[in-house]
Amino acid sequence: MRRFQALAAAILVALGVGGAVYADRELGPRSLSAGAAATAPSGEWFCPHGGGKADWEVELQVANPGTEPATIRILTMGRGRAEPGGTFTVEPGSFLRLPVPAVGRERASTVEWFDQWVAVGWVAHAGGDEGGLAAEPCAATAGGRWLLPDGSTATDVDDDYVVVMNPFSRDAVFSVTLLSERTAPVQHGDLTDVVLGPHHSVAVRLSNWIKNERTVSAVIEASIGRVAAGTLGIKPQGGGVRSTIGYLGDPPGTLVFPGGSDAGRTDLAVMTAALERVGLSGQLLDEEAEQTFGGLADSAPPAQSGRTYTASTNGPTSVVFTAEAPGVAVARRTYGVVSDQGSTGGAVPAQAWVVLPAVMGSPSQPGLAFANPGTEPVELTLSYLALGLAPESAGADPIMLTIPPHRTATAPRAFLDAAPDGAVLAVADAGTFVPAAASYSRGREGFATYAVALGIEIPAGWIPA
């Protein structure tokens, strides 16, 4: 009996220890079950579009590339009390332009969407002597750290701003650090721990702090709350306006900047928010060839700086920018053939995009550029999301477009002219690409204004079949 008991006890111990070892090393906790499909999708776009005097106009552009109607709710904010902009339904395959209050540099808006993902951006027309057009996608998320590379105080007429919005119901506290080429980083007390009330926005004028720098970049860091930020560049007396949404956190190492029919000069505003020098490189992809971005060759700008790299281009040209380490943000400034300027942030290639129009009023000469930095040709289908119309009544049939590898392509004029103020849905059958709208429209004193807006990537799960 005793011998049996001892043996049984030994087996018990072995079972216990062995079981524990097996459970620890092999079995582990049960894996998670598959998640349920979303039933109540919703989201919010944050649009630090800025504004100006009474003759400024800003329109939010909302495109629904899906198959279900979307409900959207708009709120516009500034220094005073936020103003509800109403609730709207965006029908499938259509898009809306919704004017919002535009008085004040700090103007910003939010667009909440429900049930169906929508793409949201803005187009702003500067009135008076600030004449020009700016267009940009809104930010899909808000957060604590924004990198805003595109600012300039190179000349006395450069009047650039950083627009910071707090779209939430709690105070946000943020600080601004300004980086430039020749001036040490500016962290002024007035730019530190700035309290921004709920549903308020503020504009920081760059020339108040740094003067005569081609690139003045900004780092926005919120210690409390979340914010969204963009830049608004104004060059009165013919220089035009431009706006760029910032990067939330560190941008990807490689960014693609599609370019259209501009004046042939590209300025890359590069900010190095990293604490060390970061090596840079770039490629220029036009419709015929690929070449190195000469100005970036062997370049490694200092830490905590903002610098401008210029290239000359011939026809629609895209830039593929690569940084060897995180902490580098870039914006591409381009110029209209006659007047005005445009700028845009970069993106990584994706399969499906909505490209919101960068035009306002008429005459309207839309342009669409597509960059394919990959090694395989990309087959696209382009279709219109007509302004306020159902897809079947849209003016243009979908077309196919092929972008050769390492090249830039533009949409056929016939397609563009069919619905010059419509948004475009661009979906690749295979491969990835980056689109942008680079358009001329309206104009001042007979000169059309120029604007560039990057496309908006359609998230996985929302790409139309």
Partner: protein, 1025 residues
């Protein structure tokens, strides 16, 4: 044979000798009276007379007295008038009036030859001791003259008699000095004429019980001394106690008479000023005793207590008349009398009571250790008195463990659920037709609230004190019940003490205590009772009253399940193992079924919940999936959950290896439960068991108890006769087991000594005021975290569920603004409101919504709280993108404030709200319009609010068709809002909420009360002797 004063020869009359008249009170004493009379005849005192009073004897006592004393010295009473009546009759005699002293003597008392002389000598002959009114002898046993029976008595401040003698105390001369005492027994009491004539004789209302106390007290008030002289010895037969005297039908227990006498004595004999403080204290203590007796199921004793108070109330006029008489001769203050009362702190008596309690219902307890050499006296003492030693160490350890509880500060932290501020809230919730916590609904409360209400009432409605009481007392109860269980089964107190200590020092026990898990601690206290009953049912032990036995098992199961329904899983495991491995399976199964049925009846609200949603009722999402922690019985972190906690399972396995044949079956069953408990605990925590069967803490608790039981059984066989065998494997095993237990218990005790418990004053996270200091008004808090088997930061309590997504999973809980509530003990959270919450969290984890705050708003959620770093990265990312959840700066906690929050009850005056409230799908709810709402107080049946304008009233409580909303004189049936809440359109004016099904709950609770009363009556303890 006997003489009277007149018959003594003149020469013998010493002029100075005081005269003594013996008043012999006899009744049915033929069996021993002769010896009493002989002792009187042999007295050496010169002037001694005897008169006998026969209290209507029927056995020839009167004839004996006539033979011995002659007809004229006998007073025959037609009926038994007790001692007081007999003495009253005697003192009417001229001889009694003339005698210097009366000696009251019972018929079963035999005096030593010089007893009277010595008593007289003490009354008159002690220099410096004046005004002696009463003298009593040292009383020894009738047969065993070394056994002390009486050396004078005292009382406590409340008139309860107290003797300094221990049970069975031998006369070793320790009381051999004249003692001034409060009172002496009337079995042999010498009373001076002055004393009795001044104070009056015995109060006949005492019916012969404790009238000596009152008489001596009054004599003391009159300034007389009361002495006990050891030079006078009397033997007492205690004929009535032995049952030798045909007794009249006894209506009441001794407790009744003692209590009756105590109160009447106080009322008569204390001064007014003393009564002013004594009576209130007596009342409080009396009520506490009443509760204690009721809780201990000594209902007859409790009834006797109440009856004694009733008697005093009914006889108050007579008492007051006698009080006037007693106080009229007062010549000393109460302070002078109280000098002779016993101290309030009577440690030896407490130990006696503790021993009685600990060894109640035991069969013979084996002596663990016969004798030891002198040099090893300490060890001998320890082994010979293991209970005393264990109790002493246990009390010390307990005092150290609860050191943080001392003081006025509230204890907080861990998983401690907040107690409501008064017992009324507990009882109110118990009786309420609707649940007032979290998402409401018509779910009944657990019967546990009744018990907690009693605790709260005892602690004067002080929630902090009630928490401390329960948390402090439950480990002690667990130890006591474990000891009683083990000792009853093994008949070895030594090993039972060790096993009980191992049990309460197990990793699971210390974890539960540290975390303030009162329901689990209730499980710790009740599992030993359940196991004991199961062991009895499935063993060959004879069961005296099987029905009472089975009902007792059911009551224990019901108590456990009422506090923690998941304990049903542990109990079921025990039952299964006993069915598979027990001996008398037929009887065991029958008794177990009876117990289970009784338990189900006594906890039927809990059973109803289990039937409705077994997963929510039985499961727990707390407990580690680390298999090594499971092996040492530690469900989580905290003091005592380290590797050394493995001592208990190691010791259990050692006991299994070395168990004697007689105990092997029990040890094997215990080991089976232990192993299965550990395995099930890990499988639960790792997610391999269905929710309805997953409860890691309960399984580990069951395993811990089973391991301790294995130690008790195995060790009891192992140590038996160990020193009578040559050294061998058995001795080696015993030494190894001793080493393991010593190291384990020692190490765990050290942990207890040094521990910083999770539950302590200021145990809440420093960031908690961010939530707590929020604007006034009710709101709810959603607690979230990774599903790592941990509770939420205090006061969030335990998770109520887990939502799983392919990318991330979350555990979650929902509380009101005060955190987890004790009102929810034994009451799971389930229903359509919780289903809605679950769907919102799934939506959030799916990463497709940015309006989780809006979706949470109908639940009244204003804050979402997580421990810092406890959110899985995908979940944190999902929260970060929420447009309406704002991260609030708070060190140590991750707190999101819901920008879209709605109050738990409100009126929305915007017409756009009505369709929104009617919405039941998440997309509709997410896109609801943002409108201002008018907050109204939380809803309770009968509560009234008001609305200034017409609108939609919405209450974030789970919908029940029994609700009615009274507005503008109309009773409106509500409709479901958001698919689960309550809403209705209202006009301006007052709004009342009425729950029309309250009568049903009242009836249910009345039935529950009756069932408990019946169960308690069936399982009541026998009345005190």
């Amino acid at each position: 044979m006997a003489t009277t004063l007149g018959e003594r020869p003149a020469a013998a009359d010493a002029v100075r000798d005081p005269s003594v008249l013996v008043v012999l009170v006899a009744r049915d004493a033929a069996g021993w009276l002769r010896e009493c009379l002989q002792s009187l005849a042999s007295q050496t005192h010169a002037r001694l007379g005897v008169v006998a009073v026969d209290n209507a004897s029927t056995d020839g006592t009167a004839d004996l007295l006539v033979q011995a004393l002659g007809q004229q010295r006998i007073i025959r009473l037609p009926e038994n008038r007790g001692l007081a009546g007999a003495v009253q009759a005697a003192i009417q005699l001229p001889a009694a009036q003339a005698a210097d002293y009366l000696l009251i003597l019972h018929d079963d008392t035999a005096l030593g030859p010089d007893a009277v002389a010595r008593m007289v000598e003490a009354a008159e002959g002690i220099r410096g001791v004046e005004r002696v009114g009463i003298v009593g002898p040292k009383v020894v046993d009738w047969e065993n003259h070394r056994l002390l029976r009486e050396v004078g008595r005292s009382t406590d401040r409340f008139g309860h008699p107290y003797t300094p003698l221990q049970d069975g105390e031998l006369d070793q001369g320790q009381y051999d000095r004249v003692l001034e005492v409060l009172f002496v027994s009337d079995l042999a009491m010498l009373i001076s004429r002055e004393a009795w004539q001044r104070t009056g004789m015995f109060d006949e209302r005492y019916a012969g019980r404790h009238d000596d106390l009152d008489f001596c007290w009054r004599a003391r008030l009159a300034g007389f001394r009361v002495l006990m002289t050891p030079l006078a010895v009397a033997r007492h037969r205690s004929a009535s106690s032995r049952g030798e005297r045909p007794t009249e039908h006894r209506h009441r227990s001794s407790r009744y008479y003692a209590e009756r006498a105590a109160l009447v004595s106080m009322l008569k004999d204390y001064g007014v000023l003393t009564l002013l403080w004594v009576l209130p204290v007596y009342t409080v203590l009396g009520v506490a005793r009443l509760v204690f007796l009721a809780l201990g199921r000594r209902f007859e004793d409790a009834y006797d207590l109440v009856a004694a108070w009733g008697w005093n109330f009914a006889h108050l006029p007579g008492t007051l008349r006698r009080r006037v008489r007693a106080q009229s001769v007062r010549s000393v203050r109460d302070r002078a009398v109280r000098r002779f009362m016993a101290a309030t702190l009577r440690v030896p008596r407490w130990f006696e009571r503790a021993e009685e309690f600990l060894e109640e219902d035991f069969e013979s307890i084996a002596e663990d250790e016969p004798t030891r050499p002198r040099g090893r006296r300490a060890a001998s003492m320890a082994v010979g008195h293991p209970v005393l030693l264990g109790t002493t160490i246990g009390i010390l350890l307990w005092a150290v463990a609860v050191r943080h509880f001392v003081g006025p500060e509230a204890i907080e932290g861990g998983a401690l659920a907040a107690f409501p501020g008064s017992s009324t809230e507990l009882f109110g919730e118990l009786l309420s037709g609707v649940r007032t916590t979290i998402l409401g609904g018509a779910q009944p409360s657990s019967p546990a609230l009744g018990a907690m209400g009693a605790v709260s009432w005892i602690s004067f409605g002080n929630a902090d004190l009630a928490e401390k009481l329960m948390l402090g007392a439950l480990p002690v109860l667990a130890a006591v019940f474990a000891y009683r269980s083990f000792a009853r089964q093994t008949v070895r107190p030594g090993t039972a003490v060790v096993a009980a200590a191992a049990y309460v020092l197990s990793g699971t026990a210390l974890w539960a205590f540290s975390e303030g898990r009162i329901p689990l601690l209730v499980g710790f206290a009740t599992l030993p009772i359940v196991w004991d009953r199961l062991d009895g049912a499935f063993s060959r032990r004879r069961i005296e009253r099987p029905f009472r036995f089975g009902v007792g098992l059911g009551a224990a199961i019901a108590i456990a399940m009422s506090f923690l329904p998941g304990l049903a899983l542990g109990i079921a495991l025990m039952i299964v193992v006993h069915i598979l491995g027990g001996r008398r399976r037929g009887r065991g199964l029958g008794l177990t079924m009876l117990g289970a049925a009784t338990g189900g009846l006594l906890a039927f609200p809990v059973v109803a919940d289990i039937v409705s949603d077994p997963a929510a009722s039985l499961s727990s999402f707390v407990g580690t999936d680390d298999p090594w922690s499971v092996l040492w019985l530690a469900p989580g972190g905290g003091p005592g959950t380290w590797v050394l906690a493995a001592f208990l399972p190691v010791a259990a396995v050692l006991c299994f290896a070395a168990a004697e044949r007689a105990e092997f079956g029990r040890v094997a069953r215990a080991i089976a439960v232990m192993g299965a408990g550990m395995a099930l605990a890990w499988l639960s925590a790792a997610g391999y068991l269905p929710d309805a069967l997953a409860n890691p803490p309960v399984y580990l608790l069951t395993a811990a108890f089973a391991a301790a039981a294995a130690v008790a059984y195995g060790a009891s066989g192992l140590v038996s006769g160990l020193d009578q065998q040559a050294f061998g494997v058995r001795q080696f095993g015993a030494a190894l087991l001793t080493l393991v237990l010593a190291v384990g218990i020692g190490a765990q005790s050290l942990q207890v000594t040094l521990a910083e418990w999770e539950v302590r004053p200021n145990g809440l996270p420093p960031a908690w005021p961010v939530v707590d200091a929020s604007a006034p008004g009710e709101f709810r808090i959603l607690w979230i975290g990774s599903p790592a088997g941990e509770r939420f930061p205090a006061p969030g309590g335990d998770p109520i569920g887990i939502v799983e997504s392919s990318g991330a999973s979350l555990r979650f809980g929902l509380t009101d603004r005060r955190g987890a509530s004790a009102l929810d003990f034994g009451r799971p959270a389930f229903g359509p409101g919780y289903d809605y919450l679950r769907s919102v969290l799934l939506e959030l984890l799916a990463g497709e919504t940015a309006h989780a705050g809006t979706l949470l708003a109908p639940l009244g959620v204003r804050y979402v709280v997580a421990d810092e770093g406890d959110l899985p990265a995908p979940a944190a990312a999902a929260f970060d993108v929420q447009a309406d959840l704002d991260l609030v700066p708070a060190g140590g906690l991750t707190i999101f404030r819901n920008a879209a929050a709605l109050p738990p009850a409100f009126v929305a005056t915007d017409p756009a709200w009505t369709p929104a409230a009617e919405a039941s799908s998440l997309p509709e709810i997410a896109a609801r319009p943002i409108v201002d709402v008018q907050r109204i107080p939380p809803v309770e049946s009968g509560g009234t609010s008001g609305s200034a304008t017409a609108g939609e009233v919405v209450v974030a409580d789970q919908f029940d068709p029994g609700w009615r909303i009274e507005n503008q004189g109309q009773r409106l049936p509500p409709r479901p809002a958001f698919g689960w809440a309550i809403s209705s359109e209202v006009e301006p004016g007052s709004i009342s909420f009425i729950f029309t099904e309250q009568w049903m709950r009242t009836a249910e609770m009345a039935l529950l009360g009756l069932l408990w009363l019946a169960a308690l009556w069936i399982t009541r303890k026998p009345v005190s002797a």
